[in-house]
């Protein structure tokens, strides 16, 4: 892309700091949100004003007040404390599913693409197959077969999670494997594992990081959704999607469902803002345009 063209399509002239703010302001805000939630999750026992599982049916469904900042739920538990503890589950599940699914998918996709031939074909058909499943049916069938619980729900998610990483890794490896430096490495006599892990992957890591970041939000959203449908955590564990489900019928007691929903929205938004910023930053094509 020529310099002239760039100047033509970038009409706005702004001070560097304002441009930075415009481009990365959202990402910075997203990072701040995530850090805040991570800190709350880690230090939940100190941050939460009450025991999240303390039941007091006489004090149930109290509106937000100075005693209970975000009110109490149908069993008189402190909503704020439950949201703080709920961050632990959501973040844990998000990171576990995306990291395990991402690692597995990436290695499989990368290896298949590097080996080419029937291995690659078989992998692509397998990912096609996974994309075919109605996710709800799959998740529910697995939950029904294994029982309801955080671990089993994560298994169900992992089953459908890895293929997109496989596909991305495959396309990245295909692009990279024909490049000169790979051919050079082959000539020198490095083995395929070395080339794949030490040469190609580091060069392809940018898009993968973007996908991981965006996907963290997505995983948290999906888990909350399954939890909302009753497939997530075992009570009395506090979890955001389950909390929204508990408050779904309580229109008058709006705080029961509204605040956990805002928690989900904020953390997912945080990851999306950061992922979006990373994409801009890592993709020179988009950056320079």
């Amino acid at each position: 892309m020529s310099g002239i063209a760039q100047r033509i399509v970038v009409p706005v002239v702004a001070s560097p700091s304002r441009r930075w703010l415009r481009r990365y302001g959202l990402a910075a805000a997203g990072a701040a949100i995530i850090v805040a939630w991570l800190l709350l999750a880690i230090f939940a026992p100190w941050a939460a004003p009450y025991d999240p599982n303390f039941v007091d049916v006489a004090g149930r469904l109290k509106p937000p007040s100075s005693v209970h900042w975000l009110g109490t739920d149908a069993l008189g538990r402190d909503v704020a404390s439950r949201i703080i503890y709920g961050a632990r589950i959501s973040l844990l599940v998000g990171f576990t599913v995306v990291l395990i699914g991402g690692l597995f998918g990436t290695l499989l996709g990368g290896a298949a693409a590097y080996m080419r031939g029937w291995a690659e074909e078989a992998l692509m058909r397998l990912t096609d197959l996974v994309f075919c499943f109605p996710p709800i049916i799959l998740a529910m069938a697995i939950a029904a077969a294994l029982g309801i619980g955080t671990g089993n729900t994560m298994i169900a998610m992992l089953v459908v999670w890895w293929p997109k990483f496989s596909r991305l890794a495959r396309s990245l490896v295909i692009t990279q494997r024909s490049l000169e430096y790979v051919e050079a490495a082959q000539t020198i006599g490095f083995g395929p594992a070395h080339i794949l892990l030490r040469q190609i992957l580091p060069n392809a890591v940018g898009p993968l990081i973007v996908l991981v970041t965006l996907d963290l939000g997505n995983a948290i959203l999906v888990f909350a959704g399954l939890s909302f449908l009753g497939l997530g955590v075992v009570p009395p564990t506090a979890e955001w999607g389950a909390m929204v489900a508990e408050g779904r019928e309580l229109v008058q007691q709006w705080w029961v469902a509204t605040f956990p929903g805002i928690a989900i929205l904020s953390v997912v938004m945080g990851f999306n803002f950061v992922g979006d910023g990373l994409r801009d930053w890592l993709d020179p094509h988009a950056r320079n345009r």
């Binding site: 049916v57 006489a58 029904a144 009570p235 009395p236 019928e249 229109v251």
Partner: protein, 539 residues
């Protein structure tokens, strides 16, 4: 590129246009509704009807479908709201056991016409009951001891029983045992032949139509949407008050509440206690309570998988560690009663006073002492399973968590196991469950149906080896025709149940049904069909 500012994709008209369009779509989208004459002539009921699989009375077996069935069809006898001890006449004016001791002779009303205008005869009665017997769907199980039904004359039928010690009148009051117009339903494939199970093809038609003597005629059923009914002009108790009755499927209680407040529906059946509380001050709405005969109970099995539960004292400790009053006062807003055990308050031999006298109550020192007696001073753990559902607005999930917190006070640890209904029932019915939170609703208000269940199939599920004297006690109570003597026997039965400590009845809901004051005459009943609509009319 300065001329980009003139691209003409003006955003203001775009946004304004969108908002205007949205406004136009929403404005006046609500038909004059509540005021219109058609609306006034229609009784609209909000109800969760997702459970219904058939509206053919002979196949009615769920929770919501008895209401339309009872509205479209009449049975021979009935229960009036509030009295579930004495059977009352409906299509039959009188009945009596014949000298042989096993035949009941029913005299029929002679002024009853079907919706088609044809008169009801004894042959219609015989055909209808015979069809239920030969169709062998679920309702047949409750009248399995009926040997035959015979026409004596145009307005007299005999019902011959193979086992006259088993109750029958209380059972045939249910809307499964109604009278159909033989000619009309035969036209659509109905048959009462012995091979009706294979040959009867009328169910499809009966899912959308009725040919009975009830106040309204069924004219359509869109699954999970609505059930439509129109007035029966030939109704034998006089012209019904509404032109049409519409039962709208509304699974969400919040939707029912909002629709009721706006006047979109006249009756809301599935409100939760928190919502009912907000209606108390609404001048347009009246909340009626009806004590049901349903209850939520916790079954605790002497499970082979859990030695602690095999100890009766340990199970009894559970019974004394639960905050029953807290549950009823708070979780269901006080709208419930609690029976001693498996016989709901309102049937013979079960009252709230008796619960205070011989039932479980919260008594933590006693629970701790029982645990010590059982050799488990530090408590024990057991698995408590429940489904993802709510009864009378009480989520099993909340109830389970409340019980978990209650039991923790004496060191008993309930490990919650939420599961789908399918796995729950498989586990419970297969005797694999340790603790289960579940629900019991009777097919008919007959004491024996509860009592025999507990000493028979339910006993197996909780691994209770019922002693012969307990079996004799229940059989004697059922066969006893003197109500007071029978009540005394049932009291003894309940004492046995408490001592055995396999079942803890927690909540017997007083259903809170909210109605708009623009209608009147809807009577709630606990007999199994929710409400009498025949006397309903606009104000």
């Amino acid at each position: 590129m300065t001329d980009e500012n003139r691209t003409g994709l003006g955003r203001r008209p775009f946004i304004a246009g969108g908002a205007g369009l949205l406004g136009a779509v929403l404005a006046g989208a609500r038909p004059a509704g509540a005021q219109s004459a058609a609306r006034r002539g229609t009784l609209v009921i909000g109800l969760d009807i997702s459970d219904a699989t058939s509206l053919d009375p002979a196949r009615v077996a769920q929770y919501s479908n008895p209401l339309p069935a009872h509205t479209a069809w009449d049975s021979l006898v009935t229960f009036t709201p509030g009295d579930y001890v004495n059977v009352k006449p409906l299509l039959a004016t009188e009945w009596a056991y014949q000298p042989d001791g096993k035949t009941i002779r029913f005299k029929l009303r002679n002024d009853v016409k079907f919706v088609s205008g044809k008169p009801m005869t004894a042959e219609d009665v015989r055909f209808s009951l015979q069809r239920v017997m030969n169709l062998k769907d679920q309702p047949q199980q409750y009248i399995a001891h009926v040997e035959s039904v015979k026409v004596v004359d145009d307005h007299t039928v005999d019902m011959v029983l193979s086992d006259p010690t088993q109750p029958i009148l209380t059972i045939i009051a249910a809307p499964e045992f109604v009278v159909m117009e033989k000619a009309a339903v035969m036209e659509h494939g109905a048959t009462d032949a012995p091979d009706a199970k294979e040959k009867d093809t009328a169910t499809n038609w009966l899912n959308d139509n009725s040919a009975g003597t009830g106040a309204y005629r069924l004219t359509g059923w869109q699954r999970n949407q609505q059930i439509q009914m129109v007035q029966n002009p030939n109704y034998w108790r006089g012209k019904p008050g509404f032109e049409r009755v519409l039962i709208r499927h509304m699974s969400e209680s919040a939707a029912q509440l909002l629709a009721l407040k706006r006047g979109d529906i006249d009756v809301a059946f599935n409100l939760i206690p928190e919502q009912v509380a907000t209606l108390k001050d609404d001048p347009a709405i009246e909340v009626k309570g009806a004590t049901s005969l349903d209850f939520i109970y916790m079954a605790v099995a002497a499970s082979p998988a859990n030695p602690a539960l095999q100890n009766k004292a340990a199970r009894q400790a559970i019974g004394y560690a639960i905050d029953y009053d807290g549950i009823i006062r708070n979780l269901i807003g006080g709208n419930a009663v609690r029976p001693v055990s498996f016989l709901p308050v309102g049937v013979n031999g079960s009252t709230e006073a008796l619960t205070k006298e011989i039932g479980f109550r919260e008594d933590l020192p006693r629970a701790k002492k029982l645990l010590a007696d059982a050799g488990l001073p530090d408590g024990f753990s057991f698995q408590l399973a429940y489904g993802n559902a709510a009864i009378a607005g009480v989520q099993y999930q909340n109830l389970a968590q409340k019980i978990q917190a209650d039991l923790a006070r004496v060191g008993i640890k309930a490990e919650l196991a939420p599961m789908d209904q399918l796995n729950l029932r498989t586990m419970y019915l297969g005797g694999k469950a340790q603790g289960v939170l579940t629900f019991w609703n009777p097919p008919a208000p007959e004491n024996l149906l509860w009592a025999s269940a507990t000493i028979d199939r339910v006993a197996k599920r909780v691994h209770w080896d019922v002693a012969p004297d307990v079996r004799k006690l229940v059989a004697d109570a059922a066969a006893e025709r003197d109500i007071t003597k029978s009540g005394a026997l049932y009291r003894k039965y309940q004492e046995v149940m408490v001592d055995q400590a396999n079942h803890f009845v927690l909540i017997q809901p007083i259903y809170q049904v909210a109605m708009r004051k623009t209608i009147t005459g809807v009577q709630l009943t606990a007999a199994g069909w929710m409400a009498e609509l025949s006397g309903a009319k606009p104000v």
